[in-house]
């Protein structure tokens, strides 16, 4: 029977790391997540990792697979083109245990950009529906596909060297709402983006775009955001305060 060697970087509660290999029968699993579940059910129940939907929607099972951040649920064994796979926790996060990382820092940054529609209407009462043309819808829909898996944060080298940098996903969320014709919170968002830990820290590496499992293009969004910020700052020179 053909076997897949799964080499897992395991971390205990004291932060000690070790490599552990498991031989998984290839005909029993089709994805990396299934291989990990096979190990947990048949070999080592103490193996810890986070997962939920198993269909690339919940964004829970992000991990380093053969040195690059991927979703374990959508990485097929066939695509590995090898009989061995190295699995490790996502970079730039603190490890809770084994492959489960602490996402609090990432979610904190995400909350900072207020990822929801801000309106000037009082108490959210509108006189009528807020209509959008298909063109206005197309401006932001691609960026609303983000599932907050945090993989782009693990792929970004700047995020790895500057913990305060907002990072690709929160900056993409800013652009998603700035580009949305219904939103009226651009002033707040552009101020966050133009701060010292905003878009100026992005060096357009593009690894976030390469890694994103949902095809969102964070590096493109950040450059678009930069353009909007330049326009906003230029207009503010002629604006009465």
């Amino acid at each position: 029977m053909e076997e897949l060697v799964v080499e897992v970087t395991r971390t205990d509660e004291k932060g000690n790391q070790k490599l552990q290999s498991f031989n998984v029968p290839k005909d029993k699993v089709s994805t990396v997540l299934e291989a990990l579940l096979y190990i947990k059910e048949n070999m080592d129940p103490s193996l810890s990792f986070r997962y939920s939907c198993r269909m690339e929607i919940c964004g829970s099972c992000g991990m380093e697979i053969d040195g690059k951040p991927h979703m374990a649920c959508s990485t097929t064994i066939e695509s590995l083109k090898s009989d061995k796979v190295k699995v490790a926790p996502m970079k730039h996060y603190k490890v809770i245990r084994d492959l489960a990382v602490d996402m609090e820092g990432f979610f904190g940054k995400y909350k900072e950009v207020k990822p929801y529609i801000i309106r000037d209407d009082e108490n959210g009462k509108y006189e009528s529906e807020i209509l959008q043309t298909p063109a206005q819808f197309d401006e932001f829909i691609d960026y609303s596909m983000c599932i907050k898996c945090g993989i782009c944060m693990a792929a970004c080298p700047i995020e790895g060297s500057d913990p305060d940098y907002l990072g690709p996903a929160p900056l993409t969320a800013i652009w998603r709402y700035v580009a949305d014709s219904r939103d009226q919170g651009a002033k707040y968002r552009l101020e966050v983006a133009s701060g010292p830990e905003g878009t100026s820290r992005c060096h357009f590496v593009g690894e976030c775009t390469e890694a994103c499992p949902k095809g969102v293009d964070p590096s493109y969004a950040i450059q678009k955001l930069r353009g909007s910020m330049v326009k906003y700052e230029f207009q503010s020179l002629f604006r009465r305060h």
């Binding site: 996060y93 603190k94 809770i96 602490d102 060297s161 590496v205 690894e207």
Partner: protein, 137 residues
């Protein structure tokens, strides 16, 4: 809540150099950092050498002669490498500036290749004329 003694996998600036098996953008980024550091190092080295003019013409001439003639004329190779990183850095920097202004954003990877090819052609022309100048002097 995570305890303070847990493993933090933040790579730090050393992670900038790990472009193996990454996209071309990562390679461009890593080389941009490296070439930038080389240029800054050269700037200070250049100022250090020029500062010998404060001591006197003879001191400066003797220092310059010691690094460009005799057993140390391999500095010429370093000059060529310096020109290489300057042309690379300049071309990639121009591409980034244009991309950040929204020019060529959709084709940024192709732009990287085009700009680098142009810069290497310019480097070749520069080195040819520098060699001619060297031969004439």
């Amino acid at each position: 809540m995570v305890e303070e003694n847990v493993k933090n996998l933040r790579e730090g600036p050393m992670g900038w150099a790990k472009f193996y098996r990454k996209g071309i953008g990562y390679f461009a980024f890593a080389m941009h950092r490296f070439s930038g550091l080389v240029i800054v190092f050269y700037l200070y080295l250049h100022l250090f050498v020029l500062s010998h003019l404060l001591v006197g013409k003879a001191t400066y001439n003797s220092l310059v002669t010691s690094v460009t003639y005799g057993p140390f004329d391999s500095f010429l190779v370093l000059d060529v490498l310096l020109a290489l990183v300057i042309f690379y850095h300049g071309a990639n920097g121009t591409r980034l500036a244009l991309n950040e202004l929204g020019i060529g954003l959709e084709n940024n990877k192709a732009m990287f290749y085009v700009f680098e090819v142009i810069s290497m052609v310019l480097l070749g022309i520069f080195l040819y004329y520098a060699y001619m100048f060297l031969g004439a002097s």
